[in-house]
């Protein structure tokens, strides 16, 4: 499966959706234009990666990090992306943190209680289980104190 990097396209459906949401209602896009944009997006990622990698190497790091990518955006003259990207990064970090804490919490619950299955069900149903959610919050506080 030796594919050229430019052939690694991003999913058409997602690209189409992004385009349609960016444009006013009623505007269409031809198949050729859409696939050209998809290609352009791949090239963009490759180019940004290369730029970001330069920054990583300058910092004598082997792993690309978020700030390398942000520096790459500025280098590529896409400064206008920097602010929305920073905001997205903050949101992403918060979400990752939340996920991590949630899965750690789950593990500990499984060890402690046999009622964990009921608690999982109640988490999915937002309607009736405010009381149980309060219990969970209390549990979280206890954990933090520890």
């Amino acid at each position: 499966m030796a594919e050229r990097p430019e052939d690694l396209n991003l999913p058409n459906a997602v690209i189409t959706r992004i385009i349609k949401e960016a444009l006013p209602d009623g505007v269409n896009i031809s198949k050729e234009a859409r696939s050209a944009i998809s290609r352009a997006a791949s090239v963009f990622v490759l180019y940004a990666t290369s730029c970001a990698n330069n920054f990583a190497m300058k910092g004598k790091r082997k792993t690309l990090n978020a700030s390398d990518v942000l520096s790459a955006m500025e280098e590529m003259e896409f400064q206008r992306f920097v602010t929305p990207l920073k905001e997205a990064l903050e949101a992403y970090r918060r979400e990752q943190k939340g996920k991590k804490e949630a899965s750690e919490q789950k593990k500990k619950d499984k060890d402690k209680k046999t009622d964990s299955e009921e608690q999982d069900k109640s988490r999915e149903e937002d309607d009736e289980d405010e009381e149980r959610l309060d219990e969970e919050e209390q549990n979280e506080e206890e954990e933090v104190d520890n």
């Binding site: 997602v14 009623g26 505007v27 269409n28 963009f44 940004a48 990666t49 792993t63």
Partner: protein, 116 residues
């Protein structure tokens, strides 16, 4: 004036936890609300990043930001191309609108010759 509670009959997109799978194709099914921080599948973006022989490793955050940046890029280039189509009073974006945008906008110079 009672403030209308969210979800009182108006079906908003982000309401159902993990219910809709419309746009999130290859992404892992997350149930966290508002988890659609990026619509492009991170796995594919990662594949592109790894295609660069000079890149050793890329952190998860870097992949995520690249995905988001690619989305912003798609929006940007679509809008710029649309300006050209508008001048021609057309309502369908054509390939040539894209080519014009690439020629006209300095930031898109890196795309020249790559889309064939």
């Amino acid at each position: 004036m009672a403030a209308a509670a969210a979800g009182s009959g108006t079906p908003r997109e982000e309401e159902a936890p993990g219910g809709e799978a419309a746009a999130t194709q290859a992404q892992a099914p997350t149930t966290a609300p508002g988890a659609r921080l990026s619509r492009l599948p991170l796995a594919r973006v990662k594949a592109l990043v790894k295609a660069d022989p000079d890149v050793t490793l890329a952190g998860q955050e870097a992949i995520f930001i690249l995905a988001r940046a690619a989305e912003l890029f798609v929006e940007t280039i679509a809008k710029d191309a649309y300006c050209c189509a508008q001048q021609g009073k057309r309502k369908t974006l054509q390939r040539r609108d894209l080519d014009n945008a690439i020629e006209a906008v300095d930031e898109f110079a890196f795309l020249e010759g790559t889309l064939d």
